[in-house]
């Protein structure tokens, strides 16, 4: 008996966590057994098992793959661009107070505004091909990266910078030897946020401005009352988000081992 109790005690958190999720899925699955759904509602209703079945179907006939590649492409290119722009700008803005002051109004305004609002404009400029989505992804992901890099750079210990300077290092060296390594945990945290925003950008961009891609698939399925397809799409996005988030979180902990204080991240 104590064996079981000890086993539970050690893994309590995972058992309760997984247990709750399982409970939720089971409850969901069994709703039609408890409640007889009125005709109207059953149109919108689906169960986890139906979603799973649909998933296999769509994988089998290649629908998912087709849409997935497009979404993935938009995601990767958009994210890549945001890294290419966000990182350097964050670094420079962190080091140069003048540049920071000049660019800050735009960064603040653009960061606070939901990126989605630019979509009609982007549609006008870039049509409904991949580029409007890439740009939305870019706009969403670039700011967490930029701002976090900036914060990291700004918070570098002055003492370390002065120390490296005293060896005659130029700005470029200071960046490379002190600033960049110090900022890495911030940058990675920013990357995690950026990934979340990027996924959102893909979803939302494809809802309104696409005929291909997982988001478009979901939107179309919804209008055709194919609720199970909607959930398949949703589950895929969820899975991708989770994988990326956990991978980057792992990276964060590894890289932050030397840091005494907590890097707060939401």
């Amino acid at each position: 008996m104590t064996g079981v109790v000890n086993f539970y005690r050690e893994r309590e958190s995972s058992i309760l966590g997984i247990g709750f999720i399982v409970l939720f899925l089971v409850a969901w699955e069994s709703i039609p057994l408890w409640v007889s759904l009125p005709k109207g509602v059953s149109l919108f209703f689906t169960t986890p098992s139906q979603v799973a079945v649909k998933f296999y179907e769509l994988m089998a006939d290649g629908t998912i793959q087709e849409h997935f590649y497009i979404s993935a492409w938009e995601f990767v290119v958009g994210l890549g661009l945001s890294i290419a722009v966000g990182l350097p700008f964050g670094l420079i803005m962190g080091r140069s107070r003048t540049l920071d002051a000049l660019l800050d109004p735009y960064v603040t305004a653009l960061n606070a505004t939901p990126r989605l609002i630019w979509l009609p404009l982007l549609i006008i400029w870039a049509g409904i091909g991949v580029w409007s989505k890439i740009l939305i992804v870019f706009l969403g992901a670039v700011f967490p990266l930029l701002i976090n890099t900036y914060t990291g750079v700004k918070n570098v210990d002055r003492v370390l910078i002065n120390m490296v300077r005293s060896f005659g290092a130029r700005e470029w060296h200071v960046m490379k030897i002190v600033v960049l390594p110090y900022s890495v945990p911030f940058i990675v945290a920013g990357l995690r946020l950026a990934v979340g925003r990027a996924v959102l950008g893909v979803v939302v961009g494809e809802f309104f401005a696409a005929t291909k891609g997982l988001g478009a698939m979901i939107a179309r399925a919804a209008t055709a009352y194919q609720v199970d397809v909607v959930f398949v799409g949703m589950a895929i996005f969820m899975g991708i988000s989770l994988i990326f988030t956990f991978a980057i979180k792992k990276l964060e902990t590894n890289l932050s081992r030397w840091r005494p204080e907590q890097v707060k991240t939401f």
Binding site: E12, S13, L16, G17, G19, F20, I21, F44, R97, D100, A101, L102, L103, D104, P105, Y106, A109, L110, A112, T113, P114, L116, I117, W118, L119, P120, L121, I123, I124, P144, I147, N148, T151, N155, A189, L193, G196, L200, V203, V204, F207, F208, G215, I218, A219, A222, T223, V227, V230, G233, M234, F237, M238, S241, L242, E261, V263, K264, T265, F266
Partner: protein
Amino acid sequence: MDVKEIYQKYRRLVLGVISLISLVALWEFALTYVITYDPFFFTTPSYIIVAAKELLLGDRLWRDLAVSSHAFLWGFSAAVIIGIPIGAVMGWRRRVEYALDPFLTGLYASPLVALAPLIILVFGVGLTSKAVLIFLLSVFPFIFNTFSGVKSTDQLLVNVVRSFGGKERHLYFKVILPSTLPYLVAGARLAIGRGIVGVIVGEFFASSEGIGFAIAQFGDTYRLPEMFVGIIILSLIAVALTEALRKFELIIAPYRADMEIR
């Protein structure tokens, strides 16, 4: 104070303003005198200003803003009322945390916006579906920030109050609540951003009113100046709310030297 001193003190503000003005001036100049542009794709600040005057003096824009705010308030209030207690219980009772954390983290990390079409299907077009969407999007920062705030309550302070014979309710009001407040405000700040996204998504999809709808409609009819006015107004509102909360954070918690990653 002479000019140089003024400059030093307000340097950041001055540079920011200069930056904005120069951009607008450059934009106006370039598109009016240097480059010829297709009015379907671009517009100039002067046209935007004209459109702004028209829209602001008329009723239509204000009505749209009212409709959007209405939906936002409903969804957001629901998020506050439901999210905070859940977060609090999670922070206070370890078992609840264990049970709910993976599930809620999973939901938080997934693009719940993807359910928007479904929500509209179920609740129809209008206030309810918008409010539900806004709720879904903005509830999570409240849950997780409250959770984090309650969980990080300094155990030492709890012991102090206990040592003076404080009961459970004393702990809640005298230690946990004040300690969590900064986290709550930060959560509100995050939630506002996400809530606004909810408004826009809801309105883009299926609405005949609201600021999001207005912008989309302007876009569909290639009325760029009006569209920019809408975007700028929404932007100003978003910035104002966010910055106001940031200031509020600083007021209620000057003792927190934490760094935050937005």
